[in-house]
Structure formats: C-alpha cells, structure tokens
C-alpha cells in the first residue's frame, strides 16, 4: 500500500519533469529552429592542464583545463551584450577559437544541470572523482591530469555530438561565457539534490518489468556483451601497457649493456704479436654503436606508443565503458517508469475489485468484520455506500494517474529508443576515431622504426 502510494507521488513528480523537459525542448527548438536545421560544427578540444593555486586561499589548489571551441554557430560568436555577430562568414567563424578555462568541478556542474534538464537523454559520463588520487596526492601528476584531460574532452565531444544536448544554452554558456564563474556560484546551491532518485532506484532494484519490449531485451543483451568485451579489452590493454613499459625498459638497459660491449671492443689493445685487428674492431664498435642507437630508438618509440595507449586509448576505452553504463542507467530509468505504470495498473485493478465486491454484496467482507460492525451499531448500509463512493473517487483519480503514467512510460520508451540509436551512432563514431588513432599511432611507430632499422642495416658492414 505504502509502496504504491510513493509510486503515485513519484509519478506525479515525474510528470512535471518530463513535461518540463518537453516544454524545454519545444521552447529550445523553437528558439533555435534554424540552428537545428543546419547542424553546426562544434569542435572542442581540452588541453593544457595547469595547476592553479586557490584564488582566495579557501579552495586550495586545483587543476584548470583549457577548453578551446571551434564552431560555425553564430550564436557562439555574439558578444555578451547580444550585439551583432562578430563575423557572418562561417569560415571566418571557424577560424576563431573560443578559449575558456574550466576545472573539473565546473564540468561536474554542467553534467548535473544537463542531467536534470534532459532526463531522457544519455548524459555522457565524467571521469571518476578518483578520491584515492586525492588522498595519495598525485592528482597533479602529469599522467593523471593528461588522462583526465582526455576524458573530459571525450565528455564534451559527446555532448557536442548529441543533437539535443549540443543545443543547450548551458553548454553555450559553459563553453564561451566569462560569466560562468558567477553563474556557477548561483546555481550550485539552488540545484535540487537527486537523493530521492537514488533511494527510489534502490527500492525498485529488485523489481523487474513484467512486459519487456523486445527491442530493449536486445539492447540490454547487446550492452552486456559490449560491456564485457570492452572491459576485457581494457584489462588487456592495461596489461599490455605495463608490459610494454618493461620491454621499453629492457631495451634501454640492453642499450647500456651494448654500450659496455662497444667500449670493451674499442678499448682493447693489441696483445703481443697478436695484434687485434684494429680495422675490424673499429668497424665492430661502430656497428655496435649504430645498433645500440637503434635499440634506444626502439625503446623510445615503444614508450611513445605506450604513452598514447595509456593516456588516450585506454581513456577512450574506459569512457566507452562509462558511456555504456550511462546508457544502462537510462534504460533502467525507463524501466522504472514502466514499473511505476505497471504497479499503478495493479493497484487500480485491486481497487476496482474491492469496489465490485462491495457493490455485489457481502462477498467482499468476512463474517467477523460484519459482526463487529453490527455490535458497534454502525449502519452497515451507509458505511458500505461511503466506502464505495470513496473507492469510486480513488479509482477515477487512479485512472487519470494511470493514463499519465502510461503516457510518461511510453514517451520515455520512445525517447530512450531514440537515445539508444544515438548512442550507437556515437559509439560507432567514437570507435572509428579511436581505432583510427590506434592504427595511426602504430603505423607511426612502425614507420619510424622501419626507417631507423633500414638505416642500421645499410650501415652495418
């Protein structure tokens, strides 16, 4: 009973949000209708993580990331005071790079706002807070900030790729405005906490949807598989990175050993009448030097490749994993809506049944209750009527609720399906990019090595 009550409450709350969202969407789209028709290019780059000491000594040190945006969306090129655009020519606009500096918590805020504004969208994940790194104190290390930088860029690019999210005014504000700082300060406290949702999710965690749309079954299945594979890949790449590091180290040590050998060969002198064939020795020591250089190059090349794998590819993989998680969250949310609807439905059916029993006679009440009522002298007939009328009103209100819940669930499902397709697209796009990068870096490595070693081969006598 209590459960279904909260369910009702929740659903009514959700109706508001979802309707809000719809309205928001509508207003947004109406405002920037032309924008949506001509999909603007939005290129975002996150770079140059810099350690900054706290402004007023209160917040302590933090890392600021430089976010550069290139876009041909004219609205980005307007002055703060909404004066005429800087340049009408889209080419010229593309050349202009908008640079802002943001910190991790800024992005977190952006994500929160977006998550609240667009409940039916898959909000791209941000990198973990990495509390451990805070404790360990190496959150300013190059490796950590570089990786986070990459991950933040992935986050922003995903938003930019998303047709709805990319149109968000908050994003625009985030990417270009100098006022972000004050904007943030005002918003931070006013944001509703989403603790409710957490408990709700928790309560519904053990419930499952009765009638599952086939498409979602497939989506879930696929997601699980993909997640599994990506996780595995992630693990393997982690191992590879580690091992590549040892190999690179091997080579640099091998280089030292070969250096020793070279010195030995070039330093040894003639022994008695057995003259060391100095010409051969010189040649050999030269060869050794060439070979050693090659080995060192190999070591460098390998660690460069490794750096890419570690700093970029692994981050991409991890982000993809997170993204899949986000999508799962969305599907779960959709399920929840459906569960809400199904439970309402059940409750309604129950109420209708009680009412029908009351109307048809005593069947609904047991003998014992009737007896008690008799003793207390309550007019059985009137109380029955009262009950029936109560139930009637409940049922009618439930019917309305059910209808709206159904609407919400359906709408949610539709939105979710749209999002899933979008997700597929984003994923493909991203995979293409990351795999292309992977191949590029490998090719770069091997090309360089081939050049180095063919040189060595031709130099060895």
């Amino acid at each position: 009973m209590a459960d279904s009550n909260t369910g009702t409450q929740r659903s009514s709350y959700d109706v508001d949000t979802i309707l809000n969202t719809k309205n928001h969407d509508k207003t947004d789209s109406s405002a920037t209708e032309t924008d949506q028709n001509t999909k603007y290019i939005l290129e975002i780059r996150v770079s140059d993580p810099q350690k900054k000491s706290g402004d007023h000594g209160t917040t302590g040190a933090y890392v600021s990331y430089q976010i550069s945006t290139k876009t041909n969306n004219p609205s980005y090129h307007k002055r703060k005071d909404n004066s005429t655009p800087l340049a009408e020519n889209s080419k010229l606009m593309m050349e202009k790079i908008i640079v802002v500096h943001r910190r991790y918590s800024d992005l977190l805020l952006l994500q929160e706002i977006l998550a609240n504004d667009y409940a039916t969208c898959i909000i791209p994940p941000l990198p973990d807070k990495k509390v451990f790194q805070y404790i360990a104190g190496d959150r300013f290390s190059q490796r950590f900030t570089q990786k986070r930088c990459r991950s933040l860029q992935n986050f922003l690019r995903r938003i930019a790729f998303h047709p709805i999210l990319s149109q968000s005014n908050v994003l625009k504000m985030f990417l270009m405005s100098d006022d972000w700082e004050s904007y943030r300060k005002n918003l931070a406290d006013a944001l509703p906490s989403n603790k409710d949702e957490v408990t709700d999710t928790f309560m519904n965690a053990f419930k499952s949807v009765h009638i599952q749309n086939e498409a979602f079954v497939e989506i879930k299945d696929k997601n699980d598989k993909l997640d599994h594979t990506i996780t595995k890949l992630d693990k393997i790449f982690h191992k590879i990175v580690k091992k590549n590091d040892t190999i690179a180290e091997d080579y640099s040590k091998l280089g030292t050993n070969l250096q020793d050998l070279k010195e030995l060969v070039s330093n040894n002198n003639n022994i008695g009448k057995y003259e060391a064939n100095s010409e051969d020795d010189q040649q050999l020591s030269k060869d050794l030097k060439i070979f050693t250089d090659g080995i060192i190059q190999l070591s460098y090349g390998l660690s460069d490749l490794n750096k890419y794998l570690d700093y970029e590819y692994l981050v991409d993989l991890k982000d993809l994993e997170h993204y899949i998680d986000s999508m799962r969250q969305l599907v779960k949310l959709k399920d929840q809506k459906q569960i809400d609807y199904e439970e309402l439905n059940e409750y309604l059916a129950k109420s209708v049944k009680t009412r029908d029993n009351l109307i048809s006679g005593y069947g609904g009440n047991n003998f014992f209750t009737n007896k008690i009522e008799e003793f207390t002298g309550i007019n059985q007939e009137s109380s029955r009527r009262e009950k029936i009328s109560k139930l009637e009103s409940k049922i009618s209100s439930l019917n309305i609720e059910l209808e709206s819940a159904k609407k919400i669930a359906d709408a949610f499902e539709k939105e979710t399906l749209k999002e899933v397709n979008l997700f597929e697209e984003t994923k493909t796009h991203e995979l293409k990019g990351s795999l292309g990068n992977l191949a590029d870096h490998h090719i770069k490595f091997y090309e360089k090595m081939l050049e180095t070693w063919t040189d060595i081969d031709s130099n060895l006598k």
């Binding site: 030995l264 796009h429 070693w453």
Partner: protein, 710 residues
Amino acid sequence: MGRRKSSNKNKNHFTPVQQNREIAIVENNHNSMENEIDDDYEYDNNPFVGTTHMFASGIHDIPPTSQPIDTLLHSPTKPQYLYEDGATSPTPLGKDPLTTSSHSSLSTHLSANSTNSSSPNITQQYPDSYSPIQQQTNSGSTVEPFENLSMSMAVPKNKNLSINNNNNNNIRTSDNHKTSSLSPLQDDQIVIVDCGDYNDPWGKHAIGYIIKSKKINDEGVIIEQEVTRRYSEFHSLHHVLTRLLPTVIIPPIPSKHSIIKYFLNPINAENDSKIIAMRQRRLMAFLNHCNAIVEINQLITFQKFLDPNYLWKDILNSPPISILPTNNLLAPPLNPTKPSPLHLLLPSPTTINTNIGKFLSSLNLTTEELESFHLNDFHSFETQLTQFLNVLQPLLQRVKNNKFHIHSVSSQFAELGAYFNALSLENTSTSSPDDAFKNLPMAIEKIGHSYDVNYVTLEILIENLQNLIEEPLIDLIKFIQDSKRIIIFKNLKFVQYQIIINTIEKRKSRLNELNDFDNKMHRLDVALNRDAITSPTVANAVRNMNKQDNTNNTSKSINQDDNMTTDEITSGNITNDNISVDDESSQIMNDSQYLIQLQLQKNKQKLSKRKNKTTNKFGQIEPEFLTKIERDEEIKKLNKELLKLKDCEVLIKSDLVQVIESTLTHLNDLIKFVKRSCHFMLKDMTRAIIDWIKECLTTWQQTKSKIDSI
C-alpha cells in the same frame, strides 16, 4: 676442391718426414739403412709398443701402399692412426733395440740407461713432429681455425625456424651457407638434417641426430656420408676432445637436462620437441665449430664420429681414446696419446698456488727469454676474456628477460585479437542501412587481425632472438669459460716447470753439499793419514774409524745391492789394511778420535729415532750423518737424477713453448671469434627486427585504409 684438400694433407704428411730425416740421420748414424729411416723416424711413437696389439710390431706386414692417406683413415679395417698428417704414424718395431728398451722403461724408468740416450732424440723431435699443425695455424695456408665459425652461427638450413615461411631472414641466412661454401675447406659444412626417435645399435630408444657431412673417399672424390648419433655420444665426444686437446678451446655443446626436470618430465619426443630442436641447432653449430678448428678437424676420432662405419662405442674403446693418459700433464701437451717416457717423470701438480711471474723473475732469465713466456700477453688475454664475460653475461640475462617479456606481451596480443574479433561480431548484429555500421565491424576485425599479426610476428621475433642471439651468446660464454681450462693447463705446465727447476736446484745444492763434505772428509783423511805417519794414536784412531765405517756400512746396507755392499766392504778392507800398518803411537789420538766417532754414532742413533732433526729443510739427512758409502751412493743417484732432471727441464721447456704458442693462438682466435660473432649477431638481429617491423607495418596500414573507408 676435394683434390686441393687432399694434396694439402699430403703435403702436411711429408714435411715432417723430411725434416725428421735429418735428425734421424744424426741420431741414428749407426744405422746404415737410410731407406728405413722414414719408418724408423717415430719409432718411439708407436702407441702399440709393448702391447699385444696387432700393430705392436709396426706395420711392416701391411704392404706399402700408394693410396692416399685418407684411404687408410677411412677404411674401418685399416690401422688406426692418431693423426692423419702422418706425424704419428705407427712404425715398425724391433728394428731398433733402443725402442724396446725405451718403452720398457716406462715402468722402470730409473734404471733404464737407454732413456738417457733416447731422450734428446725425443725432445728434439717434438717441435718438429708438430710442425704440420703449427704450419697450418700460423702460415695461413689453411683457413684460420675460427674462420667459418661465424658461418655456422647461422640457422640450420633444413629447419624452418619461423612460423612464417616467407621470412626473409631464413632465406638470407641459408644464403650465407651457400656463399660460405665457396671458400676452400668450407664445403665440409656439416649439417644435422634431421632428428627424432631411433633405435641405437643396442636396441635402445633414443633421440638421434642425423649428421650429413662430406669426406674424401678412396678415389679422392668427395662423397656425402650420413650418420646418426645421439646426444650422449655428442657429450662423450666433447669430453674426449677436451682430454685429447688440452691446449685447444673446445666448442661447447648444449648442457644436459637437469635431473629435476628429468624427473618431472621424462623425455618424450613430442614434449621436448623444443629442446630437441634447440639441440639440433646447437649440436650442428658444435660440429661446424669443431670442423673449423684444424686440430679437431684432423683428429681421427672426430672424423670417425662423422663416419657411419664406426660405432661410437668402438671408437671409444680404440686408440687414441683407449690409450689416453690419466693425466694430460704427464704427456706431450699437443698430443697426449703419443707415449713419451720422459713425460711420466714430470710432477703432476693439481693446484696453482705459486706466482708464476715471481718465479720466472727469480730465474734470472734474460729479458728475451722472459719475453718468450708471454706472461703479459696471457695476462691481457685473461683480463680481456673476463671483461667479455662480464659484459656478455648481463647481456644474455637481458636478452632472456626481454624474450620473456615479449612473450607475455605477444600472448596478450593474441587475446586482444580474439576480443576484437568478438567486438566486431557484436557490432554486425546491428542491421542499419548506414554504411558506417556495415564497415565498422570489418574495421574492428581488421584491428583484431593486426593484433594477430603482431602476435605472430612477435613470436617469430622471439624465436629469432633465441636462435640468433641467446643461443650464440650462451655458446660464446661457454667458449670463454672453456678458455679457462686451457689457461689452467698452461699454468699447471708452468708449475711443472717450476717444480722441475726447484728440484734441480735442490738436487744440485744437495750434490754440492755432499761433494763439499766429501772434499772436507778427503782433506781430513789426508790430514789424518799424514798425521798417522807420525802419530800412532792417530793411526789407531783412523783404523778404528774405518772399522766403524765398515760395521756401519754392513748394518746400513742390508737393503742395498749385495754387489755394492761387498764392493764397499772390500774397498773398506783395503783401506783397513793400509791403515793397519800405521804406527801404534797414534793409538791415543785414535782413541780420542774414536770417542768423537762414538759420540757421533750415539748422536746418529738418537737422531735417527727423531729423524726430523737430522734432516735438513729438504727432508734429507745432513751429510755429516751419512757414511762415505752412503754419500757416494747418494751422489751417484743424484747425478743420475740430475741428468734425468736436465732432460726433463729441456722437455718441459719445449712443452711450455708449445703450450704457450698453442694456447696464445687459440686465445687470440677466441677473441677474434667472439668479436666476429658479435658482428654476426648484430646483423642477424637487425634483419629479424626489420622483418618484424615490416610485417607489422603492412598489416596496420591495411587496417588503417579499412578504417578510413568507414
């Protein structure tokens, strides 16, 4: 090619003979039959003398042949020679009485007079009889011992090392084989064509290695021969070689299985295919290394090892192996199976606890003579080899680690390939009209393929790393470690020399001591006799003294030769008679003398109980405690010994010269070889790396183009 080689051998065969002829003429000028000199020239070298062997009396019953020496060598029923260069060919016996006596003196060396007369002969012959080898190593007419070692570092021809058949590296290395065989002597390239299960002649199961090699047959034509040997036979060959050639660095063979491994996993052909393949490679390298060293190449044992007509067991039970001395120090260093009576007289030190440099400088040699010992050369060789060892060992470790790490990465790559393929399959399920969705799985699959290729190429790289670097490095390290053996041998030879010199010094000083004492006694005698003429007391004393001497002698000389004793006694009697004529007036003097004598005797008896005190620091009895006869005896003995020792000194000196020469040559060759191997390793490795890179690059480029098509 073959003809050239055989003619070369023939030349070697004749040079020593001609050189030796002159010596033989000098030595045997009583021998008028010059025709037989050739036969005689090594009369003391017949290993079968004194045995019941069919050639103990020489090869006279074998009709003189015009066949090339190889015929004799390679036909199993023909006599068995040590070296085919003819330096040690068996010769008839019984012609020269000296020979028999010199050989019988092997056991009773001290009494043999003939040894003395024959020893200079021996010592002079050694350097000459070894000249063929020296010539070969020094003149450069033949290839340097290690010349084609580097070639044999290459990968076996028949064995395709790489998983990938079109691996250029293998083709190139086998090209190396071909080019190398263009130079003379290298057509002897020995190949292990196959290995696997076989039944040895006793029906036991074993892993056999089929060795293909070339030899020159009776007609002087090069024929191929094939023989199957098992690992234990290789191992025993290696052992035998170290004993036969103490001054040569013997190429290493792969080490035995550790016992623990054996218990954990008893060999079976399939399981140990890796080890067997490794052994096949290493054993082939071993054979070719051996073949490149003239001393081993010429060794009949080695040749028989390659000959299918011999069982290894039979080779082991026949000369030269069966007549190997127990201690190489007591045999001619360059040819231990050549019997030499004098060598048996040499001391056999086991440890080197003396400073050779100090010892040599104490000899007061001229700088030129000191130079001839090449002490500084040895020192620098040793330090250089240690340095190499110090560099190569960590290098090996590094390579091993690297191999291990690469292997773990490559296995990760294999897994990665599998997962990328899975990823591509998962993506194909999307039935989307979009081209991107269609191409993506293909691109992902391509990535997976790239990683597969990465895996395969890395495995090849690992194998190359092992075959081209790790194993040769292990061999190199073993080579260098084996060099310690010959250095120790050389040092032991030095110790021998030192002992001989010291002994000579000791004997000389003892002799001097004895002679001095004799002289002193003689002077005393003269003085006493002179006095005895005037003083009867002295005369009496002298008489008593002589009596004393006699009794002493008789009691002392029980163990000595009967003849000797009687001789002494008669001579003593004579002196006694002479003295008995002396005047009685010398009686008092004589008494006093007698008292001294008595005292001396008491002392002597006392001291003989505590022998330590009468003996000097060399453990000898002080001359004043010996009787004249004993002294004479000892002087005689010492003289004889000194003569023998002098012979020994000459012998050991010439030995030393040979050992030094041979050791230095081989050490030098080793260093050259190490350097050359390094060079080849670099080249091989570079090629292996390039192959790996090329392979990876192409696959990634293909992948990239596929991705771009999305």
